[in-house]
């Protein structure tokens, strides 16, 4: 798809950094759909669960996953759906069909934000420098998701099973985000894969 340029497509970092303590990987072109609806309405939750194959998480700061679909709780009536690249149009159409006549909103944000994975031996230090939120395992277990600040921008931060963090960041802030991560990682070494 030559006509596509992800938010961080232009980042160029020397291919191999010896013993990089921080590793950054952009999970390009995932489908990002924002879903709004009433979680107290069983017609809504069951239709969504049926369509997505995964129940909507209703506990604050939690997530649910099924294969390539991941669902983040954002607020009591708002979720972020992360779906496989290129499927967002179909998922939106399926949801609209399943939720016809309900008070809902579905908005495609696939180009407005991107998913970035941060990992490495010094990921904890990077998070201490960047996030005011307490990312310690005792407060941030695997699969928890938190909307908060990251340096001077915002991020939706998710803790992966391998201890790394997936961040959803806004496209327009992505250059700032990268500059910050590069700067904060300087003492540990940064590798972009």
């Amino acid at each position: 798809m030559t006509n596509m340029h992800s938010p961080l497509h232009h980042i160029e970092v020397p291919a191999s950094v010896a013993a990089a303590g921080v590793v950054m990987r952009e999970d390009k072109y995932r489908g990002h759909l924002n879903l709004r609806g009433n979680p107290q309405d069983e017609a809504f939750t069951s239709a969504v669960a049926k369509t997505l194959g995964v129940a909507l998480p209703t506990t604050p700061n939690s997530s649910a996953e099924n294969g390539t679909t991941r669902v983040y709780w954002l607020c009591p009536n708002e979720w972020l759906l992360l779906v496989a690249e290129g499927t967002q149009g179909q998922v939106e159409a399926d949801l609209r069909a399943a939720l016809a006549d309900q008070h809902i909103a579905i908005t495609d944000l696939s180009s407005g934000q991107t998913l970035v994975n941060l990992s490495g031996a010094n990921i904890d230090e990077l998070m201490l420098k960047s996030a005011v939120y307490d990312c310690h395992p005792s407060n941030f277990p695997v699969s928890k998701v938190v909307q908060t600040t990251f340096a001077k921008t915002g991020a939706v931060i998710y803790k992966c099973a391998d201890g790394s963090f997936d961040l959803v960041i806004r496209r327009s802030f992505s250059d700032y985000f990268f500059l910050w991560v590069a700067d904060a990682s300087e003492e540990y070494g940064l590798q972009v894969v």
């Binding site: 700061n61 607020c75 909307q147």
Partner: protein, 96 residues
């Protein structure tokens, strides 16, 4: 730096995530046209500025983006409670 409990995210968050949104429980008049200029002016311009307990509106701007209310002591900065939109405060210092 305040530490604020978001009643929607159900946990404590740092002040950086929030923005202050003024005095709470200011209802918009249902029929503005029927008000005198003084009554309308009171709604638009005048706010209390108490020393002590104050009910105020906050927005979890960098979090869930919900508005909620807090009962805060403007002297000690102690936050006695936060509560969802539509709910009433339980800490009122004896005032109704």
């Amino acid at each position: 730096m305040l530490h604020i409990y978001c009643p929607y995210c159900e946990e404590m968050r740092e002040e950086e995530e929030f923005s202050y949104s003024g005095e709470a429980h200011i209802a918009r008049p249902t029929d503005p046209e029927s008000l005198t200029d003084a009554q309308w002016g009171d709604y638009v311009f005048f706010r209390t500025n108490p020393r002590g307990l104050h009910h105020e509106m906050w927005n979890h701007a960098a979090g869930c983006r919900r508005y909620f209310n807090a009962t805060r002591n403007t002297q000690t900065y102690e936050i006695h409670e936060t509560y969802k939109m539509g709910e009433q405060p339980t800490v009122t210092g004896g005032k109704p």
